[in-house]
Each structure stands twice: as structure tokens, then as C-alpha cells.
């Protein structure tokens, strides 16, 4: 046997316990991530009347409702900025996150026909559904820029840190998405848990209210929710309100990375069952 053959030799055998992440395999399929994301985008708003405007309408209408009930009626403080922009700044990363959870957790089951027929790194499915949400995020972000002009808010130099908080949101979304998608193959309960989970999670995140309302002694536990770090970061970077990144951001980032890594390993461990269970 010549060397060329040895190079391409691969061995298929049963795996046990925790599997290696095999990121090289994922990298060699990077084009498929792109194609799947593109497919999700292409198909998402087909046969809808308003099309991509939904990406704006969802956070925007939530912002309107929040502004009326929390801002005007309940008089929730908003760190000295107008309540609508205060909540909208938090709602866009939140919309990215909640949409990612929804789509990623269903991605494996929805594409079961592919999983049972062709090999590709399964992680591509939840990954591309998270990435498809980024486009919605960017569309909704344009509205935020419009609102900032309307409310005459000039971003400070903090704005250069925004991409970091955006990445933090993505890391959290992918981490949780991997966990939920793998669990959903084994336990379809996830479908029923998800609406509650997203709702609870939203209340645990300072979207309708500022994190300064949370008592100081709870702050450390509060920061365990990585979305707290994301939302606070967005407000600090864009509106200049709240605390500059500190312990809270650090705790959030550590939790987010832990979620991502554990999610990837759990996913890889469960991956071998997908084709037989889905």
C-alpha cells in the first residue's frame, strides 16, 4: 500500500464515552455551514406577507409593549435614557438569543431526513440556525441606529467593544443551542420546555428593567446568566449607561464559554445516537 492510501485511510468503529470534538472535520465542512445558513435565510420568510420586516417588527413591537407597561405605567427606571431605546437596545441581542434557541433546538429533528441519510458533522445544523439569526439581528440593528438618531444619543468610544458583546451573545446562543438540540433528539420534552425556558430566561435578564434594580448581594448570582453580561454590555457600549465591564462581564463570559464547551462535548457524545434515535 502506498503512502497516498495511508493518508486517506479512515477507520469506522464504535466509540465509547466522551468523543473528541473533531473540529477539523467541522472545518472541512465549513462550506456546508454557509449553505445551510443561506438555506435557512432563503426559506424563512417565504410565503409571508411582511417578509424580512418581521426581523424588525418582533423586537420593535415588544419594545412598544414594554414601553407602555413597564416604562409609562409601572415607571420602571431606565438608567436615565428614554425607556424605548433602553429596552430596544436589550431586545435585539435577546431576540438573537431566543430565536437561536428556538431554531437550534429544532434543527436536528427538523432535518432528520438528512441525518439518517448522509454523513456530515451534525453540529452544522444548530450552528447554521444560530448564524441565520445574525442577519435578523443586523436588520433590527439598523432600526436601533435610527432610534439613536431620533433620541439624539451619540455613542461613546465604548462602542468599539460592541463586537465583543455580540460574540458573547453568539457563544451563549451556540452553547445553549447545542445542549437543547442534542437533548431534543432524545427527549422531545424540550419542545414543551422551550417556551417556558425562554420566558423565564427573559425575566432573569435585565431587558425590561436595569440590572441596578437587582440587590447588590444577588449581583454575583445574577451574572451567572451570560445574557446579563451581554445586555449590560450592549447598553454600556451603545448608550453609555450602567457599569463598565467588570466582574459581571467576566462571570458571564466564563459561564458562556463553559456552556459552549460543555455543549460541544455533550453534543459529540450524543451525536452517535442521532441517526438511530431521531
Amino acid at each position: 500500500m502506498d503512502n497516498k492510501d495511508n493518508e486517506r485511510k479512515s477507520i469506522i468503529k464504535p466509540s465509547h464515552g466522551w468523543a473528541a470534538l473533531n473540529l477539523r472535520d467541522l472545518w472541512s465542512y465549513r462550506e456546508l455551514i454557509f449553505f445551510m445558513t443561506w438555506r435557512d435565510l432563503k426559506v424563512r420568510y417565504k410565503q409571508t406577507l411582511l417578509g424580512a420586516s418581521w426581523a424588525i417588527l418582533q423586537p420593535f413591537l415588544t419594545m412598544v409593549v414594554f414601553s407602555i407597561f413597564f416604562g409609562t405605567l409601572a415607571k420602571v427606571p431606565s438608567d436615565g435614557v428614554p425607556y424605548p431605546i433602553f429596552s430596544y437596545t436589550a431586545l435585539i441581542p435577546w431576540a438573537l438569543f431566543s430565536k437561536a434557541l428556538q431554531d437550534a433546538s429544532r434543527s436536528l429533528v427538523a432535518n432528520s431526513h438528512m441525518i439518517t441519510k448522509v454523513y456530515f458533522p451534525r453540529m452544522i445544523l444548530p450552528l447554521s440556525s444560530v448564524l441565520a439569526g445574525v442577519v435578523d439581528f443586523l436588520i433590527a440593528f439598523i432600526v436601533l441606529i435610527g432610534m439613536m438618531i431620533y433620541y439624539k444619543i451619540t455613542p461613546t468610544t465604548n462602542v468599539w467593544f460592541l463586537p465583543l458583546f455580540f460574540v458573547l451573545a453568539l457563544v451563549t446562543a451556540v452553547g445553549v443551542g447545542l445542549w437543547l438540540s442534542a437533548l431534543n433528539v432524545l427527549f422531545r420534552d424540550i419542545n414543551y420546555v422551550l417556551p417556558f425556558l425562554t420566558q423565564f430566561w427573559m425575566y432573569l435578564t435585565p431587558i425590561a428593567y436595569p440590572s441596578s434594580m437587582v440587590p447588590v448581594r444577588w449581583q454575583a448570582i445574577y451574572a451567572l446568566n451570560p445574557m446579563t453580561g451581554v445586555v449590560e454590555g450592549f447598553r454600556w457600549a451603545l448608550l453609555g449607561t450602567g457599569q463598565p465591564p467588570g466582574t459581571l462581564t467576566l462571570v458571564s463570559s466564563i459561564v458562556a464559554v463553559a456552556l459552549l464547551i460543555s455543549g460541544m462535548f455533550y453534543f459529540r457524545r450524543m451525536e452517535r445516537l442521532f441517526a438511530d434515535m431521531v
Binding site: 486517506r8 433528539v185 438511530d276
Partner: protein, 420 residues
């Protein structure tokens, strides 16, 4: 000098059947299993008895450039083998050494999205099958030409006819260039013209020196395309032999079921609305026969259960020679009057019985297939090798010459001899 392409060592794949295979687990079950020791033990015991080895200690080797056929009954483990080889599912035991990229054609059109256009689906499907973007781009025109859908390439595929859809899907897959190609039953679908085209493409692939593993129920395709064939039954590799010998062995041994085929519940998807239970060869008096006489009529009876009212259902048979050549296809509602009087079949157990006249078949071995479908709506069941039987030619026309007659039919034809 030959090189190994695939080396399969003692491969085994276990499936759990019953509760945990189709139905997914719920959290409650898992949690209660964790907490209750007894229950857990009983669940383990139950699972042990409900597991089957879809593949059991299978070992073989395939050399580069070899075209290997795989035959076996439904549920014999053929598809499981291909799924393991293409890394869709993991084996439970044993290992496979693979040299080179494996391309699989387990089902054409995987990942096609109805809302996307033909063009978009070519790229998407190509990527799913493991092609690079530039690879797809360079073959794009070839793929489109092969699929014959040039005019509709920018139309969403949901507007395609089923034939167009299939041609496009096969075209993408056929232009994959892996070192090893595994093909499962692509030819079970599509019209005769399309099947011819697929077979042509497959033999081209083989001629290019690539390794092909080809699973099919179509014996003539297996005979035409492959040099050697594996016979698999109940997860075991029974025989590896030159194709003609293997096909002969397969048709004459595995299928013999004394003139009757009974489908066990675990062989059939119990959620289907059409569940075949038996197929029998009967003589005039209703006895089950394995060998019929060419000079006497016999009948073929299909017993099945309909689970919910089914519209436009046709239950029919295929009759094939032992070489896999079709002799005829016939459905119980072929007669337009029957078709009008049986528009909907309600739930219940049914018999569809057809009489085969005397002096019709030549002596030899034949295979019966079963198909239940609603035309252009759905195929509920399809098995081209349900049952085999023998025809004894004694007493048939021309028996004064002890030679074997060519052709599957042996009718008593009226000849006129005149001197002019």
C-alpha cells in the same frame, strides 16, 4: 497490484426494537429509570430481549475499482451496512477501514428544499453530499444537462414534476467524485428511461476505476453492473460469489417459503395504512403450492390490512424470472370498472386474488413482488422479492423435445401450416 478500498472486520450493529426505537424517550422515563433500581433492571432485561442484530459479524474486503453488489430481503441488513460504511450510523461492534472518500447515494434528493430553485438546490445538495463549491460550479452545466431541466433551473423545485425532481436529484449525486460510491436502491424509483440513464451513469462510474457498492432488488441491474455479490440475510453474510452464482443462490434459497409468504409484524412499518400479512400461490382447490404446473391454472392471493380509508389504492403483483427480468405487472384495479367501484377502501382485512391461466408460464423459477400504491400519491408497500415459486412444464406444448425453451412464457399457440 490491487489495493484495498474497504476492509470490514467483524462488523455488528445492534438495534433496539419495540419501545425505544421509534418512540423517543421522555424525561420522565429516564428519570424514573434512574431512581428505581428494580425498574431499571427490568427495563434492561426487556431491552435485551427486544434488540436485534441488524448486522452480525460481517467481514469482507473490497478492492479498488471493484463493483460489488449486495442483495438480501427487506430488513436483511443491507441498508444498515451502507449506513455504517457512509458513517451515518455507528457500528456496535467491529470496525471498517476505508481508503478514500466515501460518497453515498442512500436516497437521492436528500436535503432538497421545495422552496428553493433547481439552481439553489444543486449547490445545497452538492454541499450536503460533501462537494466543494468550486467543484459544484465546475460541474454545474454538466449536472443541468444530465437532469434535462434547463428551462426550469430557476423555478422552485416544488413546482417540478416528480420525474424532474428525481432527475435533478440523481444528476447532482451522480456527479460526485468520491473514490468509493455506495448506492442504495436509487433505481427503485423513476420511469424506465430514467432507470436506464442511471444504470448507464453507474457503469461509467465503475469504468473510471472507482469502487462501487450497489444495493438493489433489481437483479438484472445487479447482474449487469457487478462482478461479485454479497448475499445478506438476517444480518449475516451468507455468501460472496461471482454475481450470477450469488443471484441464483439468493433467489433459490432465501426466498423459498413453501408457496406462501407471511409478513411478521416486525418486518412491516406498523404505522403504515397498508399492512401486508400474506401472499400465497393457490391451486384450483385453494391448496397452497410451491410448484405449479404450466398446464394448470393457479391463483395468487394477497392478504392485507387497511388501517384507514385509502383512496385510489391499487394492490398488485410483479412477476419476475429468477434472473430478475420482469414478466408482468398487474394491479387489482387495472380494470376501469373495478377502479370505479373501488375508489376508496375502508379499514379492514382484504384479499386480492388474481387467476393466472393455464398454459401461460414456461418451466422454471419465478419471483413474485408486491406493490400497494395510490398512483402519483404514495407507495404504501413495495417488495420485488416477496415470494418465489416453481413452474413445472410437464405436459406443456413442445415437450416432445426435451430441450429447455427460451423465454418466460409458454402459451399453447395455434399454428397453421399450409402448403402454397
Amino acid at each position: 497490484m490491487t489495493h484495498t478500498a474497504i476492509k470490514v472486520n467483524h462488523l455488528g450493529k445492534k438495534y433496539m426494537i419495540g419501545s425505544s426505537v421509534n418512540a423517543y424517550r421522555t424525561l420522565r422515563e429516564t428519570v424514573s429509570e434512574q431512581f428505581s433500581v428494580n425498574k431499571k433492571r427490568s427495563a434492561v432485561l426487556k431491552n435485551a430481549s427486544e434488540s436485534i442484530w441488524a448486522l452480525n459479524d460481517v467481514s469482507f474486503e473490497v478492492n479498488k475499482g471493484e463493483v460489488l453488489g449486495i442483495v438480501g430481503r427487506n430488513g436483511a441488513g443491507k441498508s444498515t451496512l451502507l449506513k455504517v460504511l457512509s458513517r451515518v450510523t455507528e457500528p456496535t461492534r467491529g470496525s471498517v477501514e476505508v481508503y478514500g472518500r466515501v460518497g453515498s447515494l442512500l436516497e437521492v434528493g436528500t436535503g432538497f428544499h421545495p422552496e428553493l430553485t433547481g439552481r439553489e438546490n444543486i449547490f445545497l445538495n452538492g454541499a450536503i453530499l460533501g462537494m466543494r463549491r468550486n467543484e459544484i460550479e465546475s460541474k454545474f452545466d454538466e449536472i443541468v444537462a444530465f437532469s434535462e431541466v434547463e428551462k426550469f433551473i430557476d423555478t422552485p423545485v416544488k413546482r417540478y414534476s416528480s420525474g424532474m425532481y428525481l432527475r435533478l436529484a440523481f444528476a447532482v449525486a451522480a456527479h460526485l467524485e468520491p473514490e468509493i460510491l455506495v448506492v442504495d436502491e436509487v433505481l427503485a424509483v423513476g420511469d424506465a428511461e430514467f432507470q436506464r440513464k442511471c444504470l448507464g451513469k453507474m457503469s461509467d462510474v465503475a469504468k473510471q476505476g472507482r469502487t462501487v457498492l450497489f444495493v438493489s432488488h433489481n437483479m438484472s441491474a445487479i447482474l449487469r453492473l457487478t462482478e461479485e455479490t454479497l448475499v445478506i440475510d438476517k444480518g449475516n453474510l451468507l455468501l460472496r460469489a461471482p454475481t450470477a452464482e450469488a443471484v441464483d443462490y439468493y433467489l433459490s434459497s432465501g426466498l423459498t417459503q413453501e408457496g406462501q409468504r407471511i409478513w411478521q409484524p416486525n418486518e412491516i412499518d406498523q404505522k403504515s395504512q397498508f399492512i401486508p400479512t400474506a401472499m400465497r400461490i393457490l391451486d384450483k382447490k385453494g391448496n397452497i403450492l410451491e410448484t405449479v404446473r404450466s398446464t394448470e391454472p393457479f391463483s395468487i392471493e394477497v392478504e392485507y390490512q387497511i388501517r384507514k380509508p385509502t383512496k385510489g389504492l391499487r394492490v398488485g403483483i410483479y412477476l419476475l424470472t429468477s434472473h430478475g427480468e420482469f414478466v408482468l405487472t398487474s394491479f387489482d384495479t387495472d380494470d376501469p370498472i373495478k377502479f370505479d367501484t373501488h375508489t376508496v377502501r375502508d379499514e379492514g382485512v382484504y384479499h386480492s386474488k388474481v387467476n393466472i391461466p393455464a398454459n401461460f408460464l414456461n418451466g422454471g423459477r419465478y419471483v413474485l413482488g408486491l406493490n400497494a400504491s395510490s398512483y402519483r400519491i404514495k407507495t404504501y408497500f413495495h417488495d420485488e422479492q416477496a415470494l418465489a415459486f416453481n413452474v413445472d412444464p410437464s405436459g406443456a406444448p413442445g415437450m416432445q423435445w426435451p430441450e429447455s425453451r427460451l423465454g418466460p412464457l409458454r402459451p399453447a399457440l395455434k399454428w397453421e401450416i399450409k402448403k402454397i
